[in-house]
Symmetry: D2
């Protein structure tokens, strides 16, 4: 079976696995004080062209929820898109980690927050009776596969900062968005006004490696304690750090993302040519949402392909996701089956 | 100054205050084990024609949040209207008391949950990644001043129960809705499918007295502990119980609500006759939302009237609220000022 | 029946009830923006000879838990006596309001924290693996009825502040301790190093009135939101403020406390003279813990007296509490019954 | 440098690492629905001779805190030893995951809970004012390196169950205790009355693999949601499951533990022979606490050995821990240095 349902189904890429194996030699200080982990701050600071504070964790949900908890009081409001992962797919993790903050879901057609809607939502606040606006969270790429342009990020950051709110970026598919825009990590984050990034690596070639990146280390003061009490400070941290180091070396992460995106383009271009198929959103990273007739889905299933039918809020059309390891031959085979249907 | 901004500005009505004074004689067992408090269960059971479990608390926010906490796991979803008090005006109290549950805001024009929208929202759930549907909360009367008809409540209850969800009613203005419908307390609650009621009395003539009413006492097992750890188990509970007993005696609560509603009708009828004024919602209880020209608002302010301009989500038109003590002469004076404007 | 089990059984004293009745005239702005509430800050600032920030709430549990929540991160340690009310009698309210902080119970014979034990406990900390020392909480008077001397408070404050910890005082029986020491409110609090006080009034003559007092208003920034989301911002706040104003007027609070303490002395002096009775702690306020033979307790019960047998951690001897309204004739009657036994 | 400070410093053992590498082939369903993860339940059920429910997580802190959260309401009491890891080394994780439950620390000389002390502590409860006894947590092996005998576990289970409390076992060093006792996993857990086990594997040869084991799967109903919202449901779960499967295969876990324990015996026997050294606790697993003169510690440091000086509550003597990979030659070298000192 070839699984197009998610990029979480992929194995780790060889370079990352080799790094994990290589890290498995002799004793090393625990809880992130090993050599590999200690040099991770330097690595990320180089990649982002800025002195950053980095906190590896084991899952994307934890990465998002911890980042938000560092930015939001328990009576705070987090503005996000209604279809965002933090709102729909994390089983109240943001509410849990923040101690009960409120996610304010904003609507829009393509999964991206619309600045005007954000401005209106933020203005509706002030008194002690209301939850207090605390931060804005955008996903790059979005859950719908769309990607914010730099000026869109900058506009949202401007609105947020004008009200004293921090801007968080859920970067579960950060690399995919980055290669789409063809800009630098710095440009897509702090130069555009992002304050904290949940940097994803698992979907794009790692085993289990995510990192919370604070562009202003001062904001990170509570993070070490929040991370420990969440059970996200792994004792043998070297094995996470090794993944992240390999991932960021020799442009491996960008290479993986370029392949995934190229496969998504190949697939979506093919789908767009089919008479009975309609793409739900512009395809700008490695996710495709497409309205497929039931008969087509059944044909795919019979042929050994798996797509996802319950993504986003359960009302979205089927999702197909490509990844660092997607075989173009399988993309073509899928398309030819649909063409036959 | 006459305040039409809220019904929270009113004093307690004489009968209630007399009961508080009368309760102030000699020692009485603390924490709700006094005679007055012990007979409160009987009183409520009589009013609701059913054996209910009753838990008095000091504020409406606590009443709502504790009721929801008894019905919702920390990873649960609470479906409510986007304009509901629990969503907009309680500074994350429901999230706090439930340990981080998620309020899912539903939209509609008049403040009432639309069954179809609820059905769609509830269906979008299921896997471990999603917060789990746990309960539905409706306000009767709504924050907009509208009132659910019995069959609307029953339909929402039916949808909720079919999915295993409990139905909570925020009854901050329960009496006002009740006299509007002209039905019995039983008919408007458990007979229509309501599982737990936050019974409000403060706005309609008490000093500070609210009660959580469980129509199935089995559901209330955790409530005593949740209430205590929330600092809502008052030591001298007799003073709260005395208010509630007086409030429910001799139809005082209904008399007060009828007067408030009649004043709202008198006021809204007058407003509706004015050329530049438009009512935002049907006036069905004691709240009026009316689009008033700025000049009119200014004239009212000069004349010593206070209305509320920041209710609901901050985007709603000005609010005028009548109460048990509203003077019809003041209503008429307000209208005549507007007519002159 | 005369209840010596608690001071929570008492009615409100006449002056306080009169103030509540007097506050019940006409409309008043809600949520603490009424005139009575607005002048409360001035009243407390005068009493404490310092510009303080004051937040009335409905219960002592809420007062303690909110004060601690303003001082403690969710990964913080609160050092307290093992027998303290916050540790034994508030059903996890401090843990709830702080979002999961840890109470570190310190042992000692008489209910007061011993500075050396505190110093040792505070030193055992530091790394990310440990909950972080955040504040120290003392009760004045203590749950055992003992009272800290000024130099004891100052020593604990010195130790706390040296480690960057704040000092909280649970003043459920603040007035009783104050008249025992014969010092000023300022001397027993901020002049001795107390940062935040939970000022109790309910037990000593009010219906339900407690206040959180911040001696540095800067520390109180989160309190308005924490209080609102806890359902402790009462809408008709004037009725709480009226109690507190009357309580602090004309030395009413001190007069009430002096009477309660005098009755405790009369009672404990009598008990000390009895051959089979032993006082468990020095009697320094209005609480007495006494080892009484079972036969004596039974005799008291038959004679219509109620004492408390399950106080503190459930292992302490029976408790007798006097109050502002204790009748000396009843004290004498109780003693004569025991003498006869 | 040879690190005797902890068993968290060790690499993964070869068999485990090979299993991880072997799991890295092709796509696999995410979030624990892959083949490797699905057969984990069978594997654990075989090992424990009972149908169990198993939930892998990434850290021991998460394993303990989630297990406790499944057993404890937010107003619950968790009885544990004062020196237990959950009380001293998890930065309020149990309080966080349970929503604010209270850990009740019990004292004893050797790190094991004493049944009589537990019985006394449990009896001190009952009313709504108290946190409610919910569960008991023991560590096997204890933080001090001591090991409960089967009859001790059974006695604690009996006391717990008699009061309706569940028994949790923190098995961070489960294998070490098991080989010490020479009993079966079933005998040391459910046959002795343990309800839920936090099964540790990381310290004894894995990279990052812990599992929560419910001996009554009915108790685990909330766990999937609690785990997800805690960010502990890893997307590529196969890599955790692969570790656990290898760990439990061919008695690898027991072999590793036997070696670690044997090294601890070799080391502690040597220490016991030294005139200026005193063992703080009986050495029954792979941890040694020894009072060492400062000069000896300095000599070890110079010679490249690292011991831990801040374990337990910060007041304990230095700790030396052996592991699956401890080199006996290094043990002997350490001892000879001390003998020379």
């Amino acid at each position: 079976m070839t699984i197009f349902a998610s990029d979480n189904v992929t194995p780790a890429c060889p370079e990352v696995m080799e790094a994990v194996v290589a890290a498995n030699t002799g004793d090393a200080v625990a809880y992130g004080d090993d050599e590999l982990s200690l040099r991770l701050g330097r690595t990320f600071s180089d990649v982002f062209e800025k002195n950053v504070a980095v906190y590896p964790v084991a899952s994307g949900t934890a990465s998002n929820a911890l980042a938000l908890a560092a930015l939001t009081p328990p009576y705070g409001k987090i503005f996000c898109h209604a279809l965002s992962h933090i709102n729909t797919d994390e089983c109240c993790a943001p509410e849990f980690f923040t101690g009960g903050a409120k996610l304010v879901p904003l609507q829009s057609g393509d999964g991206k927050i619309v600045p005007d809607a954000l401005a209106t939502a933020m203005s509706a606040a002030g008194s002690v009776h209301n939850a207090q606006p605390a931060c804005v969270s955008i996903a790059q790429a979005c859950e719908t596969g769309t990607v914010y342009r730099l000026e869109e990020i900058a506009r949202i950051a401007e609105l947020s900062h004008a009200q004293g709110l921090a801007l968080h970026m859920d970067g579960a598919r950060f690399a995919n968005a980055l290669v789409t825009l063809g800009v630098s990590p710095a440009e897509m984050t702090w130069k555009a006004g992002v304050d904290v990034l949940s940097f994803g690596a698992t979907k794009n070639g790692c085993l289990a490696a995510e990192a919370i990146v604070f562009f202003d280390p001062e904001r990170a003061k509570t993070l070490p304690f929040l991370r420990k009490r969440a059970g996200q400070l792994l004792s043998k941290m070297r094995f996470v750090s090794a993944q992240l180091e390999a991932y960021l070396s020799d442009d491996l992460w960008l290479k993986n993302a370029r392949h995934a995106n190229a496969m998504a383009k190949r697939l979506s271009d093919g789908l767009a040519r089919l008479p009975d198929v309609a793409l739900a959103y512009p395809v700008q990273s490695n996710e495709i949402f497409a309205h497929l007739p039931r008969a087509m889905i059944d044909r795919l299933t019979v042929a050994g392909f798996q797509v996802s039918e319950e993504e986003l809020d359960g009302t979205a059309p089927p999702r197909l996701v490509t990844a660092w390891n997607t075989d173009p031959a399988e993309v073509d085979r899928l398309l030819s089956i649909l063409e036959d249907a």
